[in-house]
Amino acid sequence: MPETSTDPSEAQLLRDLRSSEFWVGVDMKQWRIAAYDWPHLVLGLTAGDGNELAMRLNCQDYPRLAPAGRPWDIATCAPLAHDRWPIGGHAPQIFRHDWSHDNNDAPYMACDRTGLATHPDWATVHPQRAWNPTRTIAFYAAEISLELRGAELPQPEKAA
């Protein structure tokens, strides 16, 4: 990951990735940086069962626009198969098989770019949960972490 960038969006993201709020989450094992390739950032987020959900975030135009996230398979560098999306707790309300599939696998959340773009009223109806340009990547990570509290992650079957 570079120290800084001439791109103002990337430079701001890099600053926020070095913030105390972000690092406390890393050191509390809530999340980690799994990969970085501007404008994409892959975060690994710990679910309630202790397994990790990777989310690939498009951070173009950060922080004016919210990150646009989707579950990601780090091993194959591809979108996470739908049958391995989080289950349990409130995860089905967030990783929605009746909505997310048609919306770039986006989480159904007001902190995410796709959710906000398709539901412009969320910014005013859900201001506490919604992205705005004063938010940081730590806010996005915390919102996803909150929804993963009671979730489990189906694991790939191991070859015999």
Binding site: E21, W23, V24, D27, Y108, A142, L146
Partner: protein
Amino acid sequence: MRLHRFSAGTGSVITHPEAPPDQPIGQLLDIEDGESAYVVGSDIALDINLTLAQLFPGDVGHLVTHRCRDAKITAVYAGHRARLDVHVATLVSGVLDQAVHDLKIDAATAADLVIRLHGSTEDMVLTNPIGAYLDKRNCQLAVDLVHVVRPQG
């Protein structure tokens, strides 16, 4: 090593990204008269002559400094109140767990709750110590347990 320091009443944290491991914490941190330092999650006051390496076996440490040792928390949920006695180094998540227990909230309901300063609309950070939200000279705090309101439709 990396040191996260939470201070009274700020609700926030300051990170020392490259704190020298062999420096006593009393020299590293500006600890005011009357304040004590605690490892987050522990209730034992630290000897400020100890070094970071002596206090933290890994390469990361979390400290909270506060004048109070114990905090009296009033937790409110759906009109019911519980009074909790916790240490200032207790994680907010621990305060939430204790409030859920004392208010006899079932597990399914509890999984949907966040905790906020009384009257606030911002969630408290579950991994912060409660001392970070306690005013420097006041060892009491009121919090609300609130259901997460998610977009529907």
